[in-house]
Structures are given as C-alpha cells and as structure tokens.
C-alpha cells in the first residue's frame, strides 16, 4: 500500500506548477525598465525573437540606454561595462579586448560584427578597435556572447561574439548634434533623419574626433601619438509590405601620424520577407579596408582588402516539435599587401573564398525543455573544410529560472600574416644575446592549421525576486593547435663588419594546446524604478602547454595576459527627474606576463537634462589611483603600452 504522502506529492507538484504560472504578464511587465518595455514585441506570434533569459548561452545585452548612461565615447570603453569581458587600453588608439582569456592587442578569438558585417580582419586576425569608431548614439543594442558561436557565425567566433546593431532609421528622425569636449579628447557628431519616400526613413550622419596621445611610462622609448579621424554615412529602412529593406553605407579615415593610417568604405543591403510564420533573409555587403600605413618596430606594411559577402537564411515555420533555420553564404576577400623590406609577404596579391552552409534545429522536447542542434560547415582557402557543430539544451522549470548546458566546437582560421608574411624584428643587445644585437626573422607558414576549441558550458539564470535576478555560467574550454612562433635551431652569428649580429629564424606553427576554465557571476538588482545596480565577478584559469617540438621563446605568454579575477559594480541612479548619477567601478587582477599590478578604478557620470531637447553630462574616468598601464608590450603586440590617465569630459546632446 502506498503511503498517503506518496499519492499527494503529484498533486502538490501540479499545484506548484500552476500557481507559478498564475503570475501574470502585467506583473512581469511592471518589473521591466522603460527601455525593456520599449523593446518588447507585442502580440506577435513568432517565437523567433528570443529574450535573453531564454537563450542557452552566456549572453549580455547593452541597450541604447545602457550605452548612453555609460558615457563611453569608444566601443572598447563601453565594453568595459559587460560582465566577463576583459578590456585593457594600450595607447590612444589601441585596446586589447577579449572574453575568457587570450587577450592581446591582436586578440584573435573574438568575432565582432556591425549589422551582420564582419569587422574582424583576416589580414592579421583580430579587430582594429580604432577602425571601428562607430557613432555611439546610433547603436540600438549590442549583444555580447561569451563562449563559442562557430555553429551560427562561422570561423573565428571562438571565445565570443559581439554583435553591434545600429538603429532603424525610423528611430533617428529629426536632427541631432552631439559634442564631446575634454582634457584628452573631443568629438562632434551631426545626424539628420528624414522620411525617404512613402514607406521609408533615412538618416545621414558625420563624425569627427580626436584623442590626445597618452603618457609614456618610465623607461618607455617611443612616444604615443595623437589620433584623429572622421567618417560619414547613411542608413535607410523601407517597409515593403511583407518585406523590409535596409541599406547602409559609410566611408572613413583614421590617422595616427607615422604609425597607422586607415581608410575604407562599405555598402550593405539587407532584405527580409515574412511569409506566414516563415522568414527569408538576404544580406550582402561590399567592404573596402585600406591600410595606408602601418609601422611598428621597424616593420611597415600597406594593404588593401576588398570583401564581398552574401548571406541567405531561411527560417521555417514551426512544424511539430521542430524549429528549423538553414542558411548559406559566400565571401571573397581580395587582398593586396606590401611590406617594407626586408619584411615581405610571399603571396602579396590573393583572393580567398569562403563557402558556408549552416542548419540549426530547435527541438521542443517538452513544453519547458528545448534542445538546439546546429552545425556550420565552411570551406576556406587556408585549411579546407571546417565543421563547427554545437548542441545546446535549456530547461525552464515551472518554478522559474533557466538551466542550460552546451557543448560546441569552434575554429580560428589562419590570417594572411600567419600564412605568408616574413617579419624581421630587432632585439637590442642584452646579456641574453651575449651583448650583440639580434635580428629575428619570423616566417609565415602556408601549412598552418586552424586553432580548435571544444567548449563545455553550464549556466543558470533566475529572477529571484521582482527586484533581483542572478546569472551564473561555468565553462571549460579545451584548445588545440593554437598558433605559435617556433624558433628554428640556435641563433647564428653573422660576422658583419664592423658590427656583427645574431640572426635567428622562426616559423609559425600550431604547437600549443591547453585548457581554460572559469565561471562568471552577475546580479541585477533594482531597489526602485529609478535605481539599478549590477554586480559581476569573473574567474579565469588558463593552463597552456607547448606540444613537443615547440621552441617558442614565451609559449605560455597568454596565461598571464588575461586577469584571473575581474569584478565590477555599476550603479545607475536617477536622482531627480533631471539628474542622473552613474558609477562604474571595477577590479582587475594582475597581468603576470607584463608585471602589471592589480587595480581598482571607477568612472562617474553626472547627467543633467537641461531642456526637453538638450542633455548635458559631466564624465570622469579612471578616478581612483594614479595613471597606470593596463597592458604590456612584447615582440608580438609590438607597440608600447602607455599610462592610462584620469580623464574628464563633458558631453552635450541636442535634438532639434
């Protein structure tokens, strides 16, 4: 005979489940902030627009309001507010930005896109943050994924993906003038939005800016340089009945005299059509990036990359338990590169093609249990066919919260430089070189393989009370075939007269492997409608080991290039209807590779709404402690790291 309790339990469980669902939509909505409310889709049957709490990945979203309140004038400074990202400033123009380790000025495991256009350069693998000098006021949202995204976005989405989406032209109607003026930087942005035909909207914009050079640390040898640049562009959006069309374009020039100069332009078109519950999306763009000048450590380069990209996706209507998306893509990158002798590129003119196909199916195993299986297969001209599969499962128990787990594979393809460039670096005489100068010649390797990651993640997020939500992620990343610079043999003495020197050759290889594990915690607390607190902590442990045969001088360098601990506290407080006080404090632990000590610092912003059309804000950055280096210098990232000072600036935003 079963005991009474055993038969009561099912009933009790059912009751718990139904009472949890009785918490209605309205009370959920009341907990949301204004910007969250404005971002909600209303009465749309589609399940395609997933909310952050529904995804089986470590995702953070920055809204336009988050961006405005951060006071940030550049993307990397803004990304400092994202839990789990590591941002270190290096010079006036350079930042190191990464997630879950491998941070570097040339961090190559983070894929960054603007409106679906990749701004990750295949020239050296990485993102030039000073090229990506977007108009902050025109960003709708930024989605940051920590962890691999290869099954959706393809190669190079290894440690994370940053997806920047600009505002729909309908949301930027009217004119706006924005000014930044401070002791270290200034900026002017003008924008005008207007109707474009019966069913469309458009905006045109222009931006000019300058950033002062940073101070040289004691013992540094090359002074930083002043950075300035300008850009202009447009975006138009048209509603064509069941279809939408978006076209945008931009042209820019960024200059840091005698060190780096870029120019470029792009044109992007995006078309989408809903047919019932199904959807077709087509996107194409042309992007020209010209490296007019690049000079570091005696090496110089010029390059021009023309990228043409075409992408199609079809989202099927949900059938039974399946929710299927398929897609295909083509990209060609035509590059011309030229290096200052004795450095050289062996394949100076090349056209690399990338063919890709992907499929993703979300299976509703039960009402609250979903499994997403995805795979992207690509063919690239460097390493041939690459498979990037993923499996993600999420369970949303009736009691609340979402528990998710995933396993995914991602790869990074070799860059043009790693594949075919020859660099000569000069090392000053030291005890290690026997008092002689040394020249190091590193050669590209056309047989280089992709870097590989298999990542395992587990996460949980829950709204604990109407005012408090928490998010936790644990990860284990297993890397193989990481790219190294392997020294060949011993240094050879070149008996030149009158000054003999040592010569040492190196070649790029895939001689490093290892694991990263860590966890990320964040909490969002809203004591009232006008006050929001966000706290986060991230822990990272990176353990690399060289494969037998590796002779890189510092193969384990990356272990100490990312902090083990990071913590942040953000407070956004509306003091009165016309005053906003924002605090962003952060702790970053030491970088052992560069002997950089841990630090705590904070940024403050006081915003004042002067009239209904004019906002002013006073910003202070790096307010705690003296000017300090946030990153280091080595032969790989080449240029000096400078002291990041305290800085003040005012921003004004006028809409008319």
């Amino acid at each position: 005979m079963p005991k009474p309790t055993a038969s009561l339990l099912p009933l009790a469980l059912l009751f718990a489940a139904t009472s949890a669902t009785a918490s209605d939509n309205l009370s959920t909505l009341k907990q949301m902030s204004l910007d969250e409310l404005a971002d909600l889709r209303v009465s749309i049957a589609t399940h395609r627009t997933e909310r952050q709490e529904d995804t089986a990945a470590a995702v953070s979203v920055l809204t336009a309001e988050d961006i405005r309140r951060s006071g940030a004038t550049t993307l990397p400074e803004l990304l400092r507010t994202v839990p789990g990202l590591n941002v270190a400033r290096i010079s006036a123009t350079e930042w190191a930005v990464s997630a879950r380790g491998f941070n570097n000025q040339l961090a190559n495991k983070l894929l960054v896109m603007v409106d679906g256009r990749s701004v990750y350069t295949p020239f050296f693998s990485g993102v030039l943050w000073d090229e990506l000098n977007v108009v902050m006021q025109d960003i709708e949202r930024i989605e940051v994924v920590r962890g691999p995204g290869g099954s959706t976005w393809g190669a190079n989405a290894v440690n994370g993906v940053i997806n920047i989406l600009t505002r729909h032209a309908e949301d930027t109607q009217g004119s706006q003038l924005s000014v930044v003026a401070g002791d270290m930087q200034s900026e002017l942005v003008a924008r005008n939005g207007f109707k474009a035909g019966e069913s469309g909207f458009a905006r045109v914009w222009a931006k000019v800016h300058q950033q002062d050079r940073l101070q040289l640390p004691q013992g540094g040898d090359t002074a930083d340089k002043h950075w300035r640049g300008g850009r202009a562009g447009f975006r138009g959006d048209w509603d064509l009945g069941p279809a939408n069309l978006m076209i945008e374009g931009e042209t820019f020039r960024e200059m840091k005299p005698d060190e780096r100069e870029y120019s470029g332009a792009h044109l992007l078109g995006q078309w989408a059509r809903n047919t019932g519950d199904a959807r077709d999306e087509l996107r194409g763009y042309f992007n020209r990036f010209t490296l007019d000048r690049w000079a570091v450590m005696g090496n110089g380069a010029k390059a021009q990359l023309d990228t043409f990209d075409l992408n199609y996706r079809h989202l099927f209507a949900e059938t039974g338990m399946h929710n299927l998306i398929v897609g295909t893509g083509y990209r060609s990158v035509r590059s011309e590169a030229e290096m200052v002798p004795p450095s050289a590129v062996s394949r100076a003119n090349r056209t690399d093609q990338l063919f890709s196909a992907f499929a993703e199916d979300t299976l509703s195993l039960a009402e609250r249990l979903k499994l997403t299986l995805g795979v992207k297969v690509e063919h690239n001209d460097y390493t041939g066919i690459e498979w990037q599969p993923s499996a993600r499962i999420r369970w949303s128990p009736a009691a609340g919260g979402t528990l998710w787990a995933s396993v995914a594979r991602a790869v990074r393809t070799p860059s043009i430089i790693e594949d075919s460039a020859r660099f000569i670096s000069f090392v000053a005489p030291s005890r290690l070189t026997g008092g002689l100068p040394m020249s190091v010649t590193s050669n590209g390797n056309a047989n280089l393989n992709t870097e590989q990651l298999t990542a395992y993640e587990l996460g949980y997020r829950i709204q604990l009370t109407p005012k408090l939500s928490v998010d936790a992620t644990v990860f284990l990343n297993d890397y193989d075939r990481l790219v190294t610079v392997d020294m060949i043999g011993r240094p050879a003495l070149v008996p030149a007269f009158p000054s003999p020197y040592l010569n040492w050759s190196a070649v790029t290889g895939n001689q490093l492997q290892g694991q990263a594990h860590g966890f990320e915690l964040s909490a969002d607390y809203r004591p009232s409608e006008t006050w929001r607190l966000q706290a986060s902590y991230a822990y990272l442990d990176l353990n690399l080991k060289a494969r037998p045969g590796n002779n890189e001088i510092t193969p384990l360098r990356a272990e100490g290039e990312s902090p083990r601990h990071q913590a942040s506290l953000i407070s956004r407080h509306d003091l009165r209807h016309d005053l906003e006080l924002d605090l962003q404090a952060r702790y970053v632990s030491a970088l052992t590779t560069y002997a950089i000590a841990d630090y705590v610092t904070a940024d403050l912003r006081l915003g004042w709404r002067a009239t209904s059309r004019l906002d002013l804000a006073l910003n202070g950055r790096n307010l705690i402690g003296p000017a300090r280096k946030e990153f280091g210098t080595n032969i790989v990232n080449a240029s000096d790291a400078y002291l990041i000072p305290r800085e003040y600036y005012v921003t004004a935003n006028l809409r008319f």
């Binding site: 489940a17 139904t18 949890a20 309205l26 909505l29 204004l34 909600l40 609250r368």
Partner: protein, 188 residues
C-alpha cells in the same frame, strides 16, 4: 513495489512540465505594455510642487478608455510614490479634470462634448500629462502618444506640448522616445 514510489512523482513532474505553459516569454498584449508604460511615467515625469498635495492624497490616473482602465487599475493596485497611492479614475468629469495628474485618452475619448483637440487645448497649460495611443494624438496637442511601431510600443513626445506646462520629462524617457513638435503632422 519501490519503482512505483519513484514513478508517481516523476510522472506528475512530467505532466506539470508539459502542461504548465507560463506567460509567453516573447509576446505580450499591447494594452498590458501600455499599462506598464503608464505606470512607469510617474517615475520619469516631474510634476510642479504646487501639485504636491498633502501626504496620503492619491496620485490620479484618469483613464478614458474602457480596455485600458481595468488593466491600469490592476497595475496600480498597492503602488504608491512618495506616500501618494496611485489610483485610477475612470471617466472623470470635465470640471474635475484638473485633479488628474495623468490623463489617458482612448481613440474617440473626450469630455463634456468637446472634441479631443478642444479638450487638449483647454488643459494645455495645466500640469496634466496627456497620453494617447493614436498616431495623431501629439499633432492634436497631446503630450505622449504610445504608438505601435514595428511590433513594439513606442513613445512619441510632443516637446512643445510638455514645455507649455511645468511638467518635466526625464532624460531617460526623452531619449527613448521620438520627439516631435506642434504642427509636425502625424508622428512617425
């Protein structure tokens, strides 16, 4: 024997999981979102001090819309700001309209036989936040229109209308909204 003890709760849990669909995460009713916006406005608009009545006096949301009124009543239940309980007033009289802090006008709604434009003109200088949900509402002199735009509820603010009163709208709300002026026709 033992297996059955395990089976019963497991089955129940599965039943609960498959049948207890919660509020749909990505689709909310339009009027619920509008009610949530209205609830929020009290925090992001400042009324002049002369409106500050005695502690305990209610903060009045006057609603001329039969669909929205019950939702708003539900949203405001038990809420207060600075000691003023938030309350809904359905169908206020024209002579009492000055007691409203927020006035929501549905599509055809008006008071005392006045057209919406006339009503809005008559109370134009009073510290009453006028809110509607028709695209033409701001062109008629209303302050905030909650319009549907690309599947979302979007606030459009006529800053000429708000600037005629002592009401001050916060930067957060202004930056989120599309701004328009008198005589700009329908807000986009």
């Amino acid at each position: 024997m033992g297996a059955r003890f395990w089976l019963a709760p497991l089955l129940a849990a599965l039943v609960a999981l498959t049948h207890a669909a919660g509020p749909s995460a990505d689709s909310f009713a339009e009027n619920d979102v509008k009610a949530a916006f209205l609830y929020n406005f009290v925090h992001f608009v400042r009324w002049p001090d002369t409106v500050a009545h005695k502690p305990g006096d209610p903060f009045r949301y006057c609603v001329l819309d039969e669909t929205l009124a019950p939702l708003l009543t539900k949203a405001l239940a038990g809420e207060s700001v600075d000691g003023h309980p938030l309350m809904t007033v359905r169908q206020p009289e024209l002579r009492n309209v000055h007691e409203c802090q927020i006035l929501f006008l549905g599509e055809q709604a008006s008071l005392g036989g006045l057209s919406q434009t006339e009503l809005l003109r008559r109370i134009a200088s009073q510290p009453i936040l006028t809110v509607g949900d028709q695209p033409g509402f701001t062109a008629r002199g209303g302050m905030i229109a909650l319009v549907k735009k690309r599947g979302r509820i979007h606030p459009v603010i006529n800053t000429d209308a708000t600037d005629r009163t002592e009401l001050k709208i916060s930067a957060k709300l202004l930056n989120l909204a599309t701004l328009t002026r008198d005589g700009k026709g329908n807000a986009q």
